[in-house]
């Protein structure tokens, strides 16, 4: 039956959705005064993570399209990183780090992709299961969200590009939950990702209306939540002791929503959002979809609706093709380059393409004034992957790059090479420090990395 679905799939060769999907009225969307309310003394810091699935175009025998040549300030950008050249002074490429917890241990050969994703921001070896007992660790973005996200309407945003309902696309004996998100609120609570720009938009801005109307709706929701908590209480009393624990998890989620509504209520009425036109759905083309998702992150930062984001440019093992850049093989298949120089070169095109899109986002951040600088000056992004050489599913010498000024705490223009096997979690811990979140330990971390702040600040 040819009943058109609102949720759209992405195969196409047609160009030209860009205009239709561009977000209108961007300037008027930003509540007056928010972006400029900060002062140099108390800058708002944002933290973001961008994840490339299926590693990067490199092997361990001489072909490497990711790692820059040279160390320190004297380094030459690699082919994949070349699109980031305009932001070189805000870019720190990190080499040598390993995510040990992504390795198999006793879990068998299966699951390298899964654990690459699940451990990337947690530094924890996830439990091999498809059942209710999924277990990972609280991820770095959520630790940050609990601190710097306290004041914003949404503590964090979890975004993705791929669909997550395909059958048989997860690794045996691992729940798809591990592959579908980077972000875990607690060791048992994965944060679902969203790939539909319209839904993200509505989460950020509601579905329109005047601020008074939005406030009314927030109040109704608050009283509904209150009443639902009563329900859960009642429910809990009708259950046995073991099951009561589970209700606790739901209560936590509902309470979190309650807190968010309270924040909206507190901030409500002061800013007047115009009646907005929403993005209509999922663009069919990869680049348009990615740009729209970056647009939404930019908007969320700019309007200070969130300060923490994670974004997956794809799911591990995905078989997306990129006909617009001449890649007709599935992404995962191509990543198993088998050391074939032609295939590596082709795969490098994809990496460059991804970096071009990221650079497009950086440009937006760079040209948006924020406090005493730009949004880019006040943000810190980690751009990278959970695999280095995808053909070997290697979890060491991971491709990682930090971009952004972290409000004076990061200087760029460097390629830092750390001793092999240094845990990646040390970098994550360092990043927390850079955005002003104190933490001593994350997963298997052994300490912070000596990445010094910008001198003179």
């Amino acid at each position: 039956m040819f009943i058109t679905q609102r949720h759209l799939s992405r195969r196409t060769v047609l160009r030209g959705m860009g205009a239709a999907l561009a977000l209108p009225l961007l300037d008027s969307m930003v509540p007056a005064g928010v972006a400029l309310a900060q002062t140099a003394a108390r800058p708002i810091r944002r933290l973001g993570f961008v994840y490339m699935p299926n590693g990067v175009a490199r092997n361990f025998t001489g072909i490497n399209y990711w790692t820059p040549v040279g160390e320190g300030a004297n380094f030459e950008l690699s082919q994949i990183l070349t699109p980031l050249a305009p932001y070189r002074d805000r870019l720190t490429v990190i080499s040598g780090l390993a995510q040990h917890q992504a390795d198999a241990f006793d879990d068998g050969a299966n699951g390298d992709h899964t654990r690459g994703t699940s451990s990337w921001l947690s530094g924890v070896h996830c439990k091999r299961t498809e059942g209710a007992d999924v277990k990972n660790g609280t991820t770095v973005d959520q630790i940050a969200a609990a601190e710097i996200g306290k004041a914003t309407a949404l503590p964090s945003l979890e975004l993705a590009i791929d669909l997550n309902f395909l059958a048989g696309q997860c690794e045996n004996s691992y729940s798809c939950a591990y592959l579908n998100t980077l972000s875990w609120r607690s060791e048992t609570a994965p944060m679902p990702t969203e790939n539909n720009p319209r839904i993200v938009f509505e989460r950020l801005f509601g579905d329109g209306g005047t601020s008074a109307e939005r406030l009314t709706q927030a109040r109704v929701n608050a009283s509904i939540i209150d009443s639902v908590l009563d329900d859960l209480n009642r429910l809990s009393q009708s259950l046995g002791a073991t099951d009561r624990v589970k209700v606790g998890e739901y209560v936590d989620s509902v309470r979190e929503v309650e807190r968010r509504i309270q924040r909206v209520e507190k901030g409500g009425g002061t800013s007047e959002l115009p009646t907005l036109e929403r993005p209509s759905g999922i663009p069919e083309r990869f680049d348009e979809h990615v740009k729209l998702m970056y647009d939404l992150q930019w908007l969320a930062f700019r309007a200070d609706l969130t300060r923490v984001t994670t974004f997956m440019l794809g799911r591990e093992l995905n078989f997306r093709t990129y006909p617009e850049i001449g890649i007709n093989e599935g992404h995962h298949g191509l990543s198993h380059h088998q050391d074939n120089p032609n295939q590596l070169a082709k795969y490098a095109r994809l990496g460059t393409y991804q970096a071009e899109l990221f650079a497009w986002f950086l440009e937006k951040l760079h040209s948006t004034p924020d406090g005493d600088g730009s949004l880019l000056d006040h943000s810190l992004f980690l751009y990278g992957a959970g695999l280095s050489n995808p053909n070997l599913h290697a979890h060491y010498d991971l491709p990682l790059a930090m971009v952004g000024g972290a409000a004076g705490r990061m200087k760029g223009g460097r390629h830092l090479v750390f001793p092999a096997e240094t845990p990646m979690t040390n970098l994550l811990l360092t990043m927390l420090d850079k955005v002003g979140v104190q933490a001593e330990k994350l997963g298997d971390s052994t300490g912070k990395l000596p990445i010094e702040p910008l001198s003179g600040v």
Partner: protein
């Protein structure tokens, strides 16, 4: 064993009929059917001779085998049931002993497997372990949609409201991973607001805009299934108009790769109709029109004036014949004209009053293309838009997207199906509100309601109606507002969003108990309908009759005959057979230039209709593999090379008995989702068969697999079989590929989009010899089918998948005796699908539960 009556549940008569045995049919059947035990000694000899040559502790320590079996005690099989179930699986799948190792004769082999099964079943029957479903089972996105549909008579595409769900064990309804995050709770809140507003039909703050996109690779040169004869292309949208109001429908056309509207010689007439009644047309003029006959071309900065459509009649009123106005342009297409022409559909906005309710909006082109042109100009089935140096292959204008905006200038809530469903009384007072809300709550919570359930709903009703009453004195509007508010509250109630199964009060951990009739009603309805129980089921459950075997079996059959059972096809079969992955299948254009969305959708439809027919006609499960019929339309018939099928609608077509196309393995959907975009993959196909038809997934590949060379040393292209031989050369790969590849290779006559071929990539004739895991050799798709039909694993695998889906949890070794009991019982009915489904509904894991 001890059976506990579920205390605290509402069914008064429940305790009366609870028998002292679980799932009575399977117990007795099991006892009767299990072969008499052979002497332990004989089996021990078999075991030692054929298993313990390799599976020793020593070999395990050396890493040669993954499991040691020499520590097991054959006189106490039940003590190591988990390991023995694995042994049984390997034996039944014919995977062990491995090819090349000494094998016992078939009788000894099967006898040993049967003996093990008998021992395991006997011990299980004495003390059945039904397993434990999660206490909370969140409705997934599909179930939420269906629940809203069945509760409120409102069919919404909730993919725009809720995120998708994680998959475990191959299905997206696994309770353990359906968690509730704050993000999701927020989505439920906002979905509840929208759903309740649409259902009750109150004026929204702002008109909503719903956007529909037609996929680009769908050919719109032909009449599409479900669209009127004499039309081509376009789309059909089932839309819930929330109120009596004006709505604006905005169709837009596709461009080519240069963002231009292609030029057509004939005028392109787009017709919009609602529920079969034409409400307007838009015309894109042809460029063949003679100069002077039409209006002058519009200037660039002067877009076409108001929509050419006449104010249409409201559906439900007498149709007035609308004038089809035409904007005719001159022949010359200068750059300026072209630009202006590109804006032709800019203001194709049609405003039309529509009465509230679920209606079908059809936007399609009147077919003005002559048949001669069509055959002469159509190089491929797939449409190709013009780009730089690429000619346009599309014959006429294509519809790209449709927006429906509204309600505008609402005149009232109207009489939608939803309102009829909700407002079961008309007094607009508290008594009526109570009646409405208790009816809704009973269905939504799927159980009898208590005062405690109603209290919060009534409180929101009062809050909503009083808030509104302050603003106006309209009693009706204020009543509606109250009901809407209460409904909004109900839709986020934990007992709506979650199926809650409570342990009987004060019961020790790990005890098996009978699931009460009320919970059973939900288990059945979510299994077969992916939705809430209807009143019939709830009534039976409340009276404690549902679990009576005759009633249960009658109800299962009634449910399977109901249209709601479509959900079983789309959700169960859609995931078991990977049909859902079709959307992501993108065969490479240069190799498969005909593949388009029309074919993709036809593939899906064929397999859905086929699976549906097996279920509804209650055929043998084996017919899934061997049926001599399928469902085809012209597009698909052409693809398969089946003659004399004309038109876009699907019809049942009888195939030659025993032909390669017979059954699931000859269907394009499955052959495509198990291929790469550019070629077939015997590995993926073999793995799919092992996993989904034989239930023995191979272990995953090791990292750093050496490359498969597509050519030999001399540079000649290797055949797929020669390429696959490379797997066998490497002993690490060989252990698994020796099982997968030969299965997949037998399907090599079907290319990566399921078309029949006799020559492979290397241009050599295809050699479709295959080999079963037990070493049996066969030839081609028919040989593969015969092998599967003879296999001991096909029906058990289907049963395991179905039981996983029915329970919403992964299966444990302790579920295997129940699976075998279901299969044994179904054997008596030629493995008819209903006997498998009734068997599941009667099985211990479905009817019972262990306390936590």
């Amino acid at each position: 064993m001890r059976i506990l009556a579920p205390k605290g549940l509402v069914c008064a008569g429940l305790a009366a009929w609870i028998a002292a045995v679980p799932a009575n049919h399977s117990t007795s059947a099991a006892a009767a059917q299990v072969p008499a035990p052979s002497p332990v000694a004989a089996n021990r000899a078999t075991f030692e001779r054929y298993c313990l040559t390799c599976h020793t502790t020593r070999q395990k320590e050396r890493g040669v085998v993954p499991v040691a079996l020499d520590t097991l005690d054959l006189s106490r099989i039940a003590a190591d049931a988990a390991v023995w179930e694995k042994v049984v699986l390997k034996l039944r799948a014919g995977v062990m002993p491995p090819a090349g190792a000494p094998r016992p004769d078939k009788a000894t082999h099967d006898g040993f497997a049967s003996w093990l099964e008998g021992e395991l079943d006997r011990s299980w029957t004495a003390n059945p372990d039904p397993g434990r479903t999660e206490p909370f089972h969140r409705l997934n996105r599909v179930e939420y949609r269906n629940a809203v549909r069945d509760l409120l008579d409102l069919d919404l595409d909730v993919s725009a409201l809720l995120p998708g769900d994680d998959v475990s064990y191959g299905f997206d309804n696994i309770a353990g991973v359906l968690k509730l995050s704050p993000t999701l709770m927020e989505r439920y809140l906002s979905a509840a607001q929208k759903v309740s507003r649409l259902a009750v039909g109150t004026t929204p703050r702002t008109p909503s805009i719903d956007y529909y996109r037609v996929t680009d690779d769908l050919s719109q040169d032909v009449q599409l299934p479900g669209l009127p004869l004499g039309t081509r292309g376009g789309t059909r949208i089932s839309y819930a108009f929330p109120m009596d109001a004006v709505y604006e429908i905005r169709p837009r056309l596709t461009r080519d790769l240069n963002e231009s509207l292609p030029l057509y010689t004939e005028p392109q007439v787009l017709e919009i109709s609602i529920d079969g009644q034409r409400i307007g047309t838009f015309t894109l003029p042809g460029i063949g029109a003679r100069e002077g006959r039409g209006a002058p071309p519009p200037e660039l900065d002067d877009p076409p004036s108001d929509p050419p459509a006449t104010p249409p009649p409201s559906p439900g009123q007498a149709p007035a014949r609308p004038a089809i106005s035409q904007i005719v342009q001159t022949v010359r297409a200068s750059a300026k004209e072209r630009q202006s022409r590109n804006r032709a559909d800019e203001r194709w906005n049609l405003r039309v009053p529509v009465k509230a309710g679920q209606r079908e909006v059809v936007i399609t082109f009147l077919n003005r293309v002559s048949a001669l042109d069509e055959s002469a100009r159509l190089p491929f089935q797939r449409p190709y838009p013009a780009g730089v140096n690429i000619p346009e292959t599309r014959l006429g204008a294509y519809l790209r997207s449709v927006e429906i905006v509204g309600p505008i200038d609402a005149t009232g809530p109207g009489q939608s199906d939803s309102r009829r469903r909700i407002f079961t009384c008309s007094t607009k007072d508290d008594v009526c509100a109570r009646k409405i809300l208790s009816t809704l709550a009973r269905r939504a919570y799927r159980r009898p309601v208590t005062t405690a359930d109603l209290e919060p709903l009534l409180s929101f009703y009062r809050e909503g109606s009083s808030t509104f009453a302050g603003a106006t004195a309209d009693k009706k509007a204020s009543f509606d507002e109250g009901i809407e508010r209460a409904l909004r509250r109900l839709l986020v109630s934990p007992e709506f969003l979650f199926r809650v199964e409570r342990d009987p009060a004060s019961t020790p951990t790990g005890r098996a108990y009978r699931v009460g009739d009320i919970d059973l009603a939900s288990r059945l309805s979510f299994f077969l309908w992916s939705s809430i129980p209807d009143d019939t089921l709830l009534d039976l459950a409340e009276r404690g009759q549902l679990s009576t075997p005759s009633v249960l079996s009658r109800e299962v059959r009634r449910m399977l005959a109901d249209p709601r059972a479509d959900a079983f096809v789309t959700n169960f079969a859609g995931q078991w057979l990977f049909l859902r992955n079709l959307d992501a299948a993108v065969p490479v254009q240069s190799i498969f230039p005909d593949f388009d969305d029309g074919l993709r959708q036809s593939f899906r439809r064929e397999t859905e209709l086929f699976f549906d027919s097996i279920v509804r006609e209650d055929r043998s499960a084996f017919d899934l593999l061997r049926a001599d019929y399928t469902f085809l339309n012209e597009r698909l018939a052409k693809h398969y090379g089946v003659p004399n099928v004309k038109g876009s609608y699907f019809r049942r077509v009888t195939l030659e008995n025993g032909a390669a196309r017979n059954g699931l393995l000859g269907q394009g959907a499955i052959l495509t989702v198990t291929s790469y975009p550019d070629r077939t993959s015997p590995v993926v196909r073999g793995k799919w068969i092992l996993e989904n038809l034989l239930g023995t997934p191979p272990p995953p590949p090791l990292p750093n697999v050496p490359p498969l060379k597509p050519t030999n040393k001399e540079g000649a292209v290797l055949s797929m079989r020669q390429r696959m031989e490379q797997h066998r050369a490497n002993p690490v790969c060989a252990s698994c590929h020796a099982m997968m590849d030969p299965l997949g290779l037998s399907l090599e006559n079907f290319d990566a989009v399921g078309k029949w071929r006799t020559l492979g990539e290397s241009s050599a004739a295809i050699d479709a010899k295959g080999r079963a895991p037990d070493g049996t050799v066969f030839e081609g798709p028919t040989g593969l089918r015969d092998m599967l039909l003879r296999s001991d694993r096909f029906v058990p695998t289907l049963t395991e998948k179905m039981l996983t889906y029915a329970l919403g949890r992964g299966l444990e070794y302790s579920d295997m005796p129940a699976v075998r009991a279901i299969v044994r019982d179904a054997a008596k009915n030629d493995y008819r699908v209903s006997s498998l489904i009734v068997g599941i509904a009667n099985s211990a894991p479905f009817r019972m539960r262990k306390t936590g």
